[in-house]
Symmetry: D2
Subunit: 284 residues, 4 copies
C-alpha cells in the first residue's frame, strides 16, 4: 500500500537518494509502477541517523511530491543510514502519528503491506504489547502495533527472531478469527548501525523488495555516474520498487527471506513467522 526506501553507507545528502534518480521515490508517490496503489499521497516520513543519541524523524500528512519542507530537509541533511516512506492509507486516518517510520529509542521501523482484517483482532494484538510500552503507541496503524509487538518480543536483542514472533502472533490471532492470510508485506528496521529488511506474507506472495548490487560492480558498470564513485564499498539501498534505470543494478529479495547489512555483516537468509508457544498465547 506504500513505498519505501532505506539507505546505509557513507553519508549522502538525503535528496540524492530521494529526488535525483529517474523514477525516484518522490516520483513513485505520484506514479508507482509496482505498488498495489499507483498513488501514495497520504503522508510520508523520513527517519535519519546522525551524531545525536536518537534518530531524527520528519513526518507530514501532505503528499510527498509537493512538500516543500521535505525538499528543504532532504537538501540539507546528510546521513549514513536513513529511511523514507510514502503512504497510501487504507482505513486509518491521515495524521502524523500514522506515518512511518516509527521510532522507539534508537530503533526505526517501517512497513509496506497490511494486517488483514486488523480491526477485528487489533485488541488482542495491543494486549500482547508489553504494558510498559503500551502508552507509547501514538497512532492507529497496524504497523505501529507490529513494531511494539516486535519490541515486546526482543527486537533490540534479535531482530529477525522478534519480527518472526510478532508476525507469528498476528497470524495466530488472525487464523483464530478465520482470516486466511493475516500478514502481508515488507519491513525495514534499524538500530542505526545495521539495517534489516524482511519480505514475507502469510500467503507466500509478498510485495516486492529489492536491494542494490555490490557497489564495486556498479562502479565498474557505470563509471560516468559520479555519485557512485563517492559511495563507500558497503553502501546499500533497499527499496520496494527500483529507482533509476541501471540494468543489473538491483537484486530482488526472495520470497520469505530477510537481509541484513552493516558492521561487515551482509547476509540474506530465509524468514518464517514463529507461532506463539502455548505460554505466550496465554500471556496474550
Amino acid at each position: 500500500m506504500c513505498r519505501w526506501l532505506a539507505y546505509r553507507g557513507s553519508p549522502v545528502l538525503i535528496e540524492d537518494a530521494l529526488y535525483a534518480p529517474a523514477h525516484s521515490l518522490i516520483d513513485q508517490s505520484l506514479h508507482s509502477r509496482l505498488g498495489a496503489e499507483t498513488t501514495n499521497g497520504d503522508g510520508f516520513g523520513i527517519g535519519w541517523y546522525d551524531a545525536e543519541s536518537t534518530p531524527g524523524v520528519f513526518r507530514s500528512i501532505e503528499p510527498a511530491w509537493n512538500d516543500q519542507n521535505l525538499h528543504e530537509l532532504a537538501g540539507h541533511v546528510r546521513s549514513h543510514l536513513f529511511f523514507a516512506h510514502i503512504r497510501a492509507a487504507i482505513g486509518s486516518a491521515v495524521q502524523q502519528t500514522n506515518c512511518h517510520p516509527f521510532r522507539h529509542g534508537r530503533w526505526l521501523f517501517m512497513h509496506n503491506g497490511f494486517i488483514d482484517a486488523f480491526a477485528t483482532f487489533k485488541r488482542e494484538l495491543v494486549l500482547a504489547v508489553d504494558a510498559s510500552l503500551y502508552p507509547e503507541i501514538k497512532g492507529q496503524t497496524d504497523t505501529e502495533v507490529l513494531f511494539y509487538l516486535a519490541l515486546t518480543f526482543g527486537l533490540a536483542d534479535d531482530p529477525p527472531d522478534a519480527v518472526a514472533r510478532a508476525i507469528g502472533l498476528v497470524e495466530a490471532c488472525g487464523h483464530q478469527r478465520g482470516v486466511k492470510h493475516p500478514f502481508q508485506g515488507t519491513i525495514a528496521t534499524s538500530d542505526g548501525e545495521r539495517l534489516w529488511a524482511f519480505r514475507y506474507s502469510s500467503e507466500g506472495r509478498s510485495r516486492s523488495l529489492f536491494f542494490s548490487r555490490d557497489i564495486r560492480t556498479l562502479r565498474a558498470l557505470y563509471p560516468e555516474r559520479e555519485v557512485l564513485q563517492q559511495l563507500s564499498d558497503d553502501a546499500r539501498l533497499v527499496l520496494s520498487e527500483p529507482i533509476g534505470d541501471l540494468p543489473g543494478a538491483w537484486n530482488e529479495v526472495p520470497e520469505g527471506s530477510y537481509g541484513v547489512t552493516g558492521k561487515g555483516d551482509d547476509q540474506l537468509r530465509p524468514f518464517r513467522a514463529k507461532p506463539p508457544t502455548k505460554a505466550a498465547a496465554v500471556h496474550a
Copy 2:
C-alpha cells in the same frame, strides 16, 4: 485545558454563537480568562445536528482564531443543537482524531479537563471498553476513552448513570495506581434531542461551567438585543466560560452536579461518580 460551548434551542447560525459576542469562544481561543491555560490553540472542533441521520463534525488542527474554514462553516450552517470545542493539548498530539467533539452514531461528547496520570492506567481503561466498540477509538485522548467507557456503560439508555460509572472506573483504576484525584472536568453530551452537561472532579474543585438563564428573563433584561428576541423560549447556552457581558445572564452549574435540557425536561441534579461493582472490576 480547553474551552467549550453547547447550544440547544431554535435553529441559529453557528456564527452567532461562536463569533458574535464580546469575549466569544473564538476570542477565548486566544485569551481565556478562566481557563487553566490562557491559549487554546491546539485544534478545535464543532459538531452539529440537522435533518441528517448523524450529526456533522468538523475538526481541525489549526488554531480556531485564524481558521478560515471554521468561519465559513459557522457562517453558513444553522442548527438547533451544536457543540464547539477549542483545545489546549496536554501530552497528546495535535491531530484531528484528538479533537473534540467525539461522535458515535447520534451521540456527541466533549470534555474540558483531564484524567490525571492517564498514561499509567490507560491500558486498564481501554480494556474495559466493550470489545465491539474498541476498534472505533481513533485517537489518543483521555476524553475519547472516557466516551467509549460511557458508551460501554449504557450512555444511550441513561447518560448520567453511564457517565457516573465511567468516571467511577477512572477513579478506581487511578486510586489503585496511587493517583490522588484521577478525574477533573466538565463534560457535554447529546443525542440530538437532549443535552447533558456535567461538572465533577475527584478533588471536588471542578473547572467552571455556566448555563444561560431563562430566555424570557434575558429578553426582558436586554430588549435591544435582536438575536434574543428570535430565540425559542427553551433556548440554552452551556459553556465553560461566560461570553458576552450581560450581567445576570449566566448561572454557574454547582460543583458535583449535572444539568439536562431539551424535550421539556430542564433539570439540575447532583452528580457523583459510581465506583465499579466487584463484577465490573473483574470484567475490567
Copy 3:
C-alpha cells in the same frame, strides 16, 4: 491540470453529486481518465450558495479523497448551486489561497487549465486589475488573476464579455512575450442564480467539458435512479469529466463555446477571446 464540477437545480446534498456516482469527482482526484494529470491531489475546494448573502467556500490543502472534513460537510450541506474543484498544482504552492473556487462578493470562479508561461507576464496582468480590486488577490495562481481581470472587465454585468476580454488580454500579453498559445482551459462562474461554463483555448484544442442532458430525458432513460426523480426539471451538472456510467447522459460542450443555465435561460453559444482595444492596452 484539475477537475471540476458545477451543479444548478433543486437543492441536493453535495455528497450525492461528489461521492455517490461511479467515477465520482472524489474518485477522479485519485484516478482521472481524461485529465492532463491522473492524480489531482494538491488540495480542493467547494463553494455553495444558500440563504446567506455570500456563498460559502471550504478549501483544503489535503487530497480530497481522504479529507474527512469534506466528507462531513458534503454530507450535511444542501445547495441549489455549488462548485467543486480538485487541484493538480503546476508551479504554485499547495495552500488554501491557491485553491479554487475563488470568491468575490456573490461570485464564484474556477478553472481547469493554465496560462502558459504565466510567470513571465504575470506582472502586466496584475497591473491591469482594477486598483480597488488588487488588494483582494490572496494567492499566486493564474486563475485568481484571471478572475480579477474578469471582474475588472465587468463580470457582474456581462460574464461572457468580461471573460472574453480577460482571456483576450492574457493572449495579447502572452503573444507579446512570444508565447504561442497563452490560454488553455475550461471555466465556471456564477452569481448564485445563473451558471456560466466556458471552453476555450488559444490553440483551439481545449480541455474537455460536459453537461448533463435534459433531466426529463434522463428520467425516462433511467427510471430506477431515485435521485433523478427528485431533481427539478432544469437541474444541470457541468463537469470536466463525466461521472457515472449512464450512456447518453452527457453532452460535450463544443470547442470555443460557452453555456449558461438558470433563470429559464439555457443557452449554448460560440465563444471567442476579445483582444484589448488600443485604449485598454494603454490602461494596462
Copy 4:
C-alpha cells in the same frame, strides 16, 4: 506582531537556542512578555546556513509550541548562523508562503512589525520591485514585499543602504496616502557570513531588539553554564525579546540603529530611512 531570534557563532544545535533557555522563543510563542501580542501561534519558520549553496528553510502553519517536526529538526541540525521566527498574523492568511524567514539565493530576511495600511498602497510597492524579481514573490505579506524592495535596491551589495531605501519608499508611498507612521519594526537579514539587524519605525518608537553581550563577559559571569564555554568568542544572539534570566546578558539595540556581526566586523550604527530620489519615484 511576531518574535524572532538570530544566531551567529560557532555551530550549535538549533534546539539549544530555541528550546533550552527559560523563556525560550518557543515559550514566547505561547506567552510573550514584550510583544504586541502575547500569543504568536500563526505559523513559524527557521532558516539555517550550512555547507550547501543556499540556506535551508523550514516553515509551518502550526503553532511552534506543539510542532513535532520543528522539535525534531532543531534537535538534529547544527548551524553557525540561523534565523527563527514565530508569527502572529495580522490580516494575511496563515500559510507557509507567508511565514518568515524569506529566502532569495543566499539571503534570508525576517521582520517583526508591519507596514501600516499596507493594503492601500501594496500595489505601488509591488510595482517598484524589479520586474525580474517580481515572479518570485510567493505570499501576501508586507515583509516579503519589503524584502524584494531591498533586493531591488541592492541588498546584496550594501544591506543598510538597501533596507534604508526600501523603508524610505514605504514611507513615501504611505505618506502620499495619508498614513502617518507607515513603517514599524525590527529586521534581520544575512548572506550566511554576516548578520544585520535593524530597529526602526517611522514614529520613532520601534519594537524592542536585543543582542547578547560579549561572550567573554558572559563566560566570566556564568562559569557554570557549559554551553557558553563552548561558543566561539564572536558568538552573538540577536532577538526581539530576551531569553533566559541572566542579568547583564543583553544589550538593547537603540532606537533608529542597526548592528552587524560577522567576519570580524561588529558594529552598531545609526539608521534612517532614505526617501526615494525624484528619479526613483518616477521609476516606481
